[in-house]
Symmetry: C3
Subunit: 342 residues, 3 copies
């Protein structure tokens, strides 16, 4: 058994009902839980799943006290979903605590690297000269940390991450496999029909509690830095171009693209594959729907969308063809209105 | 010479016309073939290319027996394109058969790894504790296989793949370079304007005969697994979020994104950059056109599309601006209809 | 100090005003420059920033001679932006010149590799049999170069690049971290409801002065090669499918996708996330706006767009719903016009 119900409540709080000594071997969704699983009810729309669930222990809101009493055990807390999130962290940290600190013998550590003794450095990791690796940092196999880069305390880099020279990340960050932090921004000066490369001399600065998804790219700035403030969360396969600035606690789902020098506010959300053009501004608390394209600045908080509605192919073909005449249709409508009025 | 026409037919069948001893050094397209190339006619629309081709041997349908007799050699078979596919596999496997099994001396194999002696493990590969590597598996340089992961027989991982802990792939799979299987799903609970990370405790399960493209990501599930059934084919730079379920023999072209917990049927196809929102269902035999966005469930088989038609920039600007008034235009049209009727 | 104003002008030309001995420690944007920075005025719209800037030296057009005379130093040149691009290259090359050639002791060099003595090969690099590494090539840590691949003079591969077997890149190329050159194209023959893999036997050929962004994929051809001509510039997270041909000096921003066998002309530009379907042709000097989808060939030079305009969510919902009836609306309008005419 991984833990008892009492262990969980001692660590995370909440009111325990039923048997505190119940052993838990798994955190589970309601439908896959068994008698030694702990599960949770995030929203009332899942009450039917709760009734059908085999879960030995369920995390519930106080209003569900009666349902709780029907279980072998339960924990009451005002926000079960948040409790579940914290439970997963506690659960994983207990497992991680068993992994020893130290540098794998195959890792290559450059000259002048400041490496906290509590850090854990995986196989074939490369840390180049003068980098600074903070307390409790974990670096997975095959990750490359560039010259004079700085990794804040308890930040984790998964396997096969590129973290570029002079780039910085704060505390408690998480960078997933394949992410590339600090590749060159895409900058070229036109010259007689060809392109002359502009070397990118800025860096990337990530705040505290930043998560970067797998194969996501955050480019270094041309001269100044690309900046992600505290608590920014990026999913997989996202492109953040040079000199973008993203405000605190903004979250982006997979496949989003942000073009150069866009300035994005705090507490924004971006649905998957949203695209933000360059050199524009997005205010705080702006929410962009999936697959929508932002072509000019949006300052006012709110939800914004712009997606062609999907339809069966035949209907789409007709409507799309007509759309190419829409401006003309408006003119015809206007003409008709005028004729009718006269 | 790589093989003779007789060798090919002995391995793959078909009726040989002309010289079975003709030596073949290359499989080639009709336009680049030479007298020692083997080529194929996939569709009759390429007949002109066939006439112009220098190919020594051509794979043709029986109906083209007369054309076949004009070549140094030919192979007749009901489906030349499929024959060509099988020919490429046979061709490559003959080359691979010359590569010895074994573990490169620089690879790092963790404790308790079950490694079939016929497997071939490349330079700087990391296989973590308790992983299971099946018969004939090939792992390219710099690939990382996590704790207790399972690779089925004859599956190949290219160079620089991340295959996460507890994830599984069946037999005859192919995972291309840069792919990340089993990064954490994007899950956070909101807490006072910030985001609390939900550790992702599920895994990824890939069936038999699954292909995963370069730099494609398949995230591990939050609690249950992300599942790709047998024969699923994913192209490059695709994002599959946590707890997605993809049915057997569904294929997705490059840059597709599938959001969390979407459930996709069997025998579907997705054009490049199609986007599927989360928590919805797509039935069997549904075909989504490139760059189309699925925002609600689609159960009925068929082809679905939703793309703004491209136009010269000036025309697009006018039509796009008018589109923002489309609902109003409809109201004006309705008003006019009413007036006219009265 | 990195250089003096005189050093810069000696290397790159231009007319020096003010103190040629002024020491420069940084190339900076106007707003972050200090008394020992060199900055530039790209366009007159930034004149206010110039007036407010602390920059010790500014690169200006000759028409701004009077403004130049107000600085500690200035350099006059007809195209300050191009001068700045060349300055960044000169600046970086002075730093790189200090890095010694040679092969890191952890690198694995296969049999028969032709390695120019001036090349610099990083930690844990793998170069497989028979590859050819030209003069002054730089290969970052963890990069894998496949069998018989060819890297032209002064080309640089960043850390963690996959450069596949038999692929070639010309001189002065730059391939960023995570890029995958030469993964298999996505080719399958249908067989009884499943997919039979077509092994990809072509390669990738990149011309001179080609830049490839981070985590971008360029697939090898099915039989013939995928080709990017001289001076092509690709940003991050781009997908180039098998047998695509891209003409010289064409540039693509992040997240673009090009499907198989598309043939793209010279001097084109593609905005971020533009998508190009397969087997079509795009002429020279065609410019595709961001997020636009090319579904048929475009030969005529010009700017082309096709994006649903973003709006507040409520307005979008109404207009998108109406769009699904657009063809019907046109019919109703036509009917009304006819009635009115009669």
């Amino acid at each position: 058994m991984h833990a008892s119900v009492a262990d969980v409540a001692a660590a995370l709080g909440g009111e325990v009902l039923g048997d505190p000594s119940l052993g838990l071997h798994r955190i589970a969704s309601l439908h896959s839980a068994d008698a030694h699983s702990i599960s949770f009810l995030a929203q009332n729309k899942f009450l039917a799943q709760l009734h059908a669930s085999q879960a030995g222990c369920v995390i519930l809101r106080p209003e569900h006290r009666e349902l709780a009493q029907q279980r072998a055990a339960a924990i009451l807390t005002p926000d079960p979903y948040l409790y579940y999130a914290r439970l997963t962290q506690w659960w994983v940290q207990r497992q991680r605590a068993q992994q020893p600190a130290g540098v794998h013998p195959t890792a290559h550590i450059g000259q002048g690297v400041q490496l906290h003794p509590s850090a854990r450095i995986g196989a074939f990791v490369v840390i180049e000269e003068g980098a600074h690796i903070g307390e409790g940092v974990v670096i997975g196999p095959h990750t490359v940390v560039g010259t004079r880069a700085v990794l804040g305390a308890h930040t984790r880099l998964a396997a096969r991450v590129s973290f570029g020279e002079h780039c910085r990340v704060g505390a408690r960050g998480m960078i997933h496999s394949g992410a590339v932090i600090g590749a060159d921004g895409f900058g070229f000066a036109p010259q007689a029909g060809a392109w002359t490369r502009i070397e990118q001399l800025g860096a990337v600065r990530l705040g505290d509690d930043v998560d970067i998804g797998a194969n996501t790219c955050v480019d270094r700035g041309a001269l100044d830095d690309t900046v992600l403030e505290d608590g920014v969360k990026l999913d997989n396969l996202i492109q953040i171009a040079h000199n973008v600035h993203i405000g605190a606690h903004t979250a982006m789902a997979g496949c989003v693209g942000v073009a150069g020098s866009a300035r994005i506010g705090k507490h924004c959300t971006f649905g998957g594959a949203a695209m933000i053009l360059g050199h524009l501004e997005i205010g705080d608390h702006v929410h962009i729907s999936a697959a929508s394209v932002v072509m000019s600045s949006i300052i006012k908080p709110g939800q914004y969308s712009g997606v062609f509605p999907i339809d069966d192919n035949g209907a789409w073909e007709k409507n799309a063809a007509t759309l190419r005449q829409l401006h003309t249709l408006r003119a015809r409508l206007r003409a008709l209105e005028k004729k009718f009025a006269s």
